[in-house]
């Protein structure tokens, strides 16, 4: 059985969770606040029984037998507060008991080599996420009116997404072909002179904490759309931060994620060096050699507010950066409204153009 960690209030025994507005642990029942440092010792003490209990999952085989392959990827957890059995994905690391709403942390997901190096705690709460979502949907002329009404905005979930952070020094040597043009004329001819140059640039550029999504369930484009994250606000990981939020451990390893980081780092390096070549009418890279030096990867958890919703046969996902508040998510389109706006704007422009041409003719 995977070991669950629940954070109980030393005062009243209720389930406590991390409060993003005060950056402390807070009991929603008695209102007592606890410093994270205080819970660090608590955290270490809670780890002691781990070795005794073991970390292997215990499949509950009561009732029907699982068919072949059905068990793969699943774990069963028991809530210590109410005794409920929770069947969840093997990567789930933090959640709430669906029966008693107690925050729970699956300790085994963060033990040994799986422990994140750092975490950016939530800075914005659920209310802020709701307001951001309403603002995101506002002012969109083509959004079906009924979408926001039918949107289950209260089902916003705070999730810590596992990411790999890559630091690297990019060493580049790039050769360009550049041109300068000059034109002049006399009474009889128009002249054009093109001078060709070879330009060489070499040097280095350092990158820090380039994030790559480490969860196969999270769309990479969605995570990249809510960037950037300020890694200076990252703190050493403690399980207490997860209480009250969902979390997953990574299922895409650093080697696989590294390719994406490489692409982005190389592209940025090319752009940065290209900007140093100035004074030419045309510049083209002929040969580009970029090598990454001192590359290292760290495992972190980044906060996002997520809402998955379905509407009119389509699935829509909204994601808000839990640190900066940037919210993204593609919205559905009312085609009838689009055609109406196109017709009105086209007709108005045509009438205006005709009136202007008549006015010019009259003058």
């Amino acid at each position: 059985m995977a070991q669950l960690q629940e954070y109980k209030c030393p005062c009243c025994g209720g389930g406590i969770h991390f409060d993003s507005s005060i950056q402390k642990m807070k009991c929603p029942y008695c209102g007592t606040e606890f410093e994270l440092e205080t819970l660090k010792v608590y955290d270490e003490a809670l780890r002691e029984p781990e070795s005794a209990a073991g970390g292997d999952a215990d499949w509950d085989m009561a009732g029907e037998e699982w068919a072949s392959g059905e068990q793969q990827g699943l774990r069963v957890y028991h809530c210590r507060s109410c005794g409920a059995e929770i069947v969840a994905d093997e990567t789930l690391a933090s959640s709430k008991c669906p029966y008693c709403d107690n925050p729970i942390v699956m300790m085994g997901q963060f033990s040994g080599g799986l422990k994140p190096d750092c975490i950016i705690p939530f800075k914005l709460d659920r209310e802020a996420a709701k307001q951001a979502l309403r603002k995101h949907c506002g002012g969109k002329k083509l959004l079906p009116r009924i979408f926001l009404e039918e949107n289950h905005i209260d089902e916003l979930k705070g999730v810590y997404v596992p990411v790999w952070l890559f630091d690297a020094e990019a060493l580049a040597t790039i050769r360009y072909r550049a041109e300068k043009e000059r034109e002049w004329d006399d009474d009889r001819f128009r002249y054009k002179e093109t001078s060709y140059y070879t330009v060489l640039r070499g040097g280095s550029l350092t990158f820090e904490s380039v994030p790559v999504d480490g969860s196969g369930k999270m769309d990479d484009a969605l995570m990249e759309s809510v960037e950037p994250y300020d890694s200076r606000e990252a703190v050493p990981f403690q399980t207490a931060y997860l209480a009250g939020y969902l979390a997953d451990k990574y299922d895409v390893d650093s080697e696989t994620s590294r390719k994406r980081a490489d692409e982005r780092i190389r592209r940025s390096t090319e752009e940065a060096f290209r900007k140093t070549v100035t004074g030419y009418s045309r510049v083209e890279a002929e040969d580009c050699g970029i090598r990454l030096n001192n590359a290292k990867a760290r495992y972190a958890l980044y906060p996002v507010w997520l809402l998955n919703t379905s509407w009119n046969g389509g699935k829509y996902v909204f994601c808000m950066n839990g640190q900066t508040g940037k919210l993204v998510g593609d919205l559905p389109m009312d085609k009838g409204l689009l055609n109406r706006y196109r017709l009105i704007s086209g007709a108005a422009a045509a009438v205006l153009a005709f009136a202007v041409s008549a006015l010019i003719w009259l003058l």
Binding site: T198, S204, T276, S345, G346, A348, F354
Partner: protein
């Protein structure tokens, strides 16, 4: 006796008076009348009232057609205040068609006002050439485009040997052009409704597509990042090598279009005749 003397005296006086009146009539009134007529004619000739005409020197048009064409040319001339004339000849006598047309125009005394505004069509049947010579206002009012139009209008008639039809087509083209934008080309033609409507429709279509695209774009906010420039450490760019070397140079040139120049330095699209007067127009062959 006394009565006879008085009668004789009265008769003498009357006779003298009549003689004086006859002399006065012959030597004063009549010349004055002639002079008055001459003055009136001169005023009429010098006024803005155009003198137009049609002459068939080649004998290819019937007298009725000649009268009809003269009347029509007169009408067009009077309507627009410039001479609109035409002449058909057997041969150019070794001259260029344009030179011959200019000469006919000037020697024929055509043109109204100080600018001597008018135009003349010369049809040379022997050489199969035609030329329109313009001076004054029609230089701009009947330019290259109008000359081309007239040529197209006349081509069918000329091919069929219908010279009267060709002259009528020329006169109609001149009338149409001057109605549209005046004899000097500065007037405003009728409002081009069709063209304006087509342009307005195209503008409306472009605006509607652009606006629709912009509204659609508001709904999309998810996109991958191609680079990681936000994660480049500030001030960490270090250039250890930087060089720029010249390779080679290429030069090319393009000749400029030279403006047409005539002996008198006449404006573009016109030429100076041997008399020094500036003519416009154009021609073709059939």
């Amino acid at each position: 006796m006394k009565r006879t003397g008085i009668r004789k005296t009265t008769a003498a006086v009357t006779g003298t008076l009549f003689s004086a009146w006859a002399l006065f009539r012959a030597w004063v009134l009549f010349p004055a009348w002639i002079l008055f007529l001459a003055w009136a004619l001169a005023v009429r000739v010098g006024a803005e009232s155009p003198a137009a005409g049609f002459a068939d020197r080649a004998g290819v048009v019937s007298p009725e057609e000649e009268r009809s064409l003269s009347a029509f040319l007169d009408e067009v001339s009077a309507r627009h205040g410039v001479d609109v004339a035409a002449v058909i000849v057997d041969s150019l006598g070794g001259q260029e068609a344009g030179e011959a047309a200019d000469r006919y125009y000037e020697n024929g005394g055509f043109g109204t006002g100080e600018e001597r505004s008018g135009m003349l069509l010369l049809l040379a049947v022997g050489e199969g050439q035609w030329h329109i010579s313009t001076e004054g206002k029609p230089v701009t009012g009947f330019g290259e485009k109008e000359v081309r139009s007239a040529g197209l209008a006349m081509s069918g008639f000329l091919s069929a040997g219908d010279y009267a039809g060709a002259v009528r087509a020329y006169a109609e083209e001149a009338d149409r052009a001057f109605r549209e934008h005046g004899a000097d080309g500065s007037g405003r033609g009728p409002f081009p409704i069709g063209r304006s409507a087509a342009a307005a429709a195209a503008a409306g279509l472009i605006v509607s597509l652009f606006y629709g695209g912009r509204l659609k774009g508001q709904l999309k906010s998810v996109s991958s990042k191609s680079a990681a420039s936000e994660y480049a450490a500030a001030g960490s760019l270090k250039l250890t090598r930087s060089s720029e070397s010249f390779l080679y140079r290429k030069q090319s040139r393009e000749a400029k279009a030279q403006p047409q120049r005539s002996g008198g330095g006449a404006p573009e699209g016109t030429h100076a005749f041997s008399s020094g007067r500036t003519h416009g127009g154009g021609g073709g062959s059939f």
